[in-house]
């Protein structure tokens, strides 16, 4: 019997070039707080934030903490990004209302599951709802499907968030990160 692949094995197999560029783009745009729940799609970004002495790398117990963390960071003049899987978005919804009504600038980068070619039915519901949930709370959605779109999208999102005061969700499609095989 073939050995089952873990999510981490899968992430290691896909190209990490754009993931490093993603981290560099976030840093270049002034992000100093990286919050996350461990996720294979964001593994490179998470690992780099842990090794980067210039930033705070904040492991969360649930994604919604990262929404509140970002709002607190803004009150103190810092830029925070929430890295999460699309399923984690479901844990954030009530706090997203604080972002909307407080007009907090807010950036999240979602690694999509339940999207293009998903093989785990448990991921489908939240994955397919992610864009609608974001739009229901007036978050601007920018989807990335190709490696060369990663950096320009992060630059565009950063301007919209920290210069125009918007809430932006960057969706990293499974067309970009690949669908995990089951």
């Amino acid at each position: 019997m073939a050995e089952l692949k873990t999510e981490d094995d899968h992430a290691r197999e896909i190209s990490t070039g754009w993931q490093n560029q993603l981290y560099d783009a976030l840093r270049r745009n002034g992000v100093t707080q990286f919050s996350y729940v461990p996720d294979a799609g964001h593994r490179v970004c998470i690992d780099r934030s842990i090794e980067d002495k210039e930033v705070h790398s904040v492991a969360l117990t649930t994604e919604e903490e990262g929404v509140a963390l970002a709002c607190g960071a803004h009150l103190g003049g810092a830029k925070s990004v929430l890295l999460m899987q699309s399923s984690g978005l479901g844990n954030c919804v009530n706090f997203m209302s604080m972002v909307k009504n407080g007009r907090f600038p807010f950036l999240t980068v979602l690694s999509m599951r339940g999207d293009f070619g998903e093989g785990n039915p448990w991921q489908m519901g939240m994955g397919q709802a992610a864009r609608k949930v974001c739009e229901a709370l007036d978050f601007i959605v920018l989807e990335v499907t190709k490696p060369e779109e990663v950096v320009p999208t992060i630059d565009a999102a950063s301007n919209m968030v920290w210069k125009s005061g918007q809430a932006v969700a960057v969706l990293l499609s499974q067309r970009l990160i690949g669908a995990k095989s089951f």
Binding site: Q33, H56, L60, E64, A73, L75, N94, F95, F104
Partner: protein, 203 residues
């Protein structure tokens, strides 16, 4: 202990928050303050006169500790006080674990525990039915913790909030009665602007 509908949290909950919270916080202008929704938001709004060093929630239940953590990491030279209630903290108790791992030395957490959900009509919370939030904070890994339930111990709690070298957690048990009457601004965007102007000098 079984739940009853009587509004009492038991013999350990006798302090009056109207006097106990100001006694333990002292001069609130020494802190940047994040307050969880309902009781503590009103306590701290009254103490700061809804000032620029105060951001109080009226929703987003469970957000206070994480918000205070983000602020504390962003402003390492200022003391950040998170004041919240037992119900608000229970909704996101994992935030204590996140704060403990980061352990910013300028983060202080004050939980005003009345054993009830005051805002919705004083239904009992888990804390007057056996849940001990100081022990949960200790279990999360917060090194400096204490529980205050007598007037004579208020000074000990006040000292920890001011002098702790790491993230600290002070549980203040109070009776389930209303806090100060104070009408605060409820526009979260206006308060965001006021706080940023006061803290950073810019919007």
């Amino acid at each position: 202990m079984t739940a009853t509908l009587e509004r009492s949290a038991g013999p350990r909950y006798t302090l009056d928050r109207i006097t106990a919270v100001p006694a333990i916080v002292g001069n609130a202008s020494d802190f940047l303050v994040i307050a969880g929704l309902a009781g503590t938001a009103k306590d701290m709004a009254a103490m700061t006169r809804d000032g620029a060093n105060y951001y109080g929630l009226a929703g987003a239940m469970g957000a206070a500790v994480s918000m205070g953590l983000g602020l504390a990491l962003a402003q390492p030279d200022k003391k950040v006080l998170v004041a919240t209630g037992d119900g608000e903290l229970l909704m996101n108790i994992g935030a204590l674990a996140t704060a403990a791992v980061l352990n910013p030395p300028n983060l202080r957490i004050l939980c005003v525990d009345n054993g009830h959900y005051g805002e919705t009509g004083y239904q009992k919370s888990h804390t007057c039915l056996g849940v001990d939030l100081e022990q949960m904070a200790m279990g999360a890994g917060i090194k400096s913790t204490c529980s205050i339930e007598k007037e004579a111990d208020l000074a000990k709690g006040a000292k920890m909030l001011r002098e702790s070298n790491g993230t600290c957690f002070v549980l203040l048990r109070v009776k389930p009665t209303d806090g100060p009457k104070f009408k605060r601004a409820l526009d979260p965007a206006a308060k965001r602007v006021q706080f940023r102007l006061g803290t950073l000098g810019e919007v």
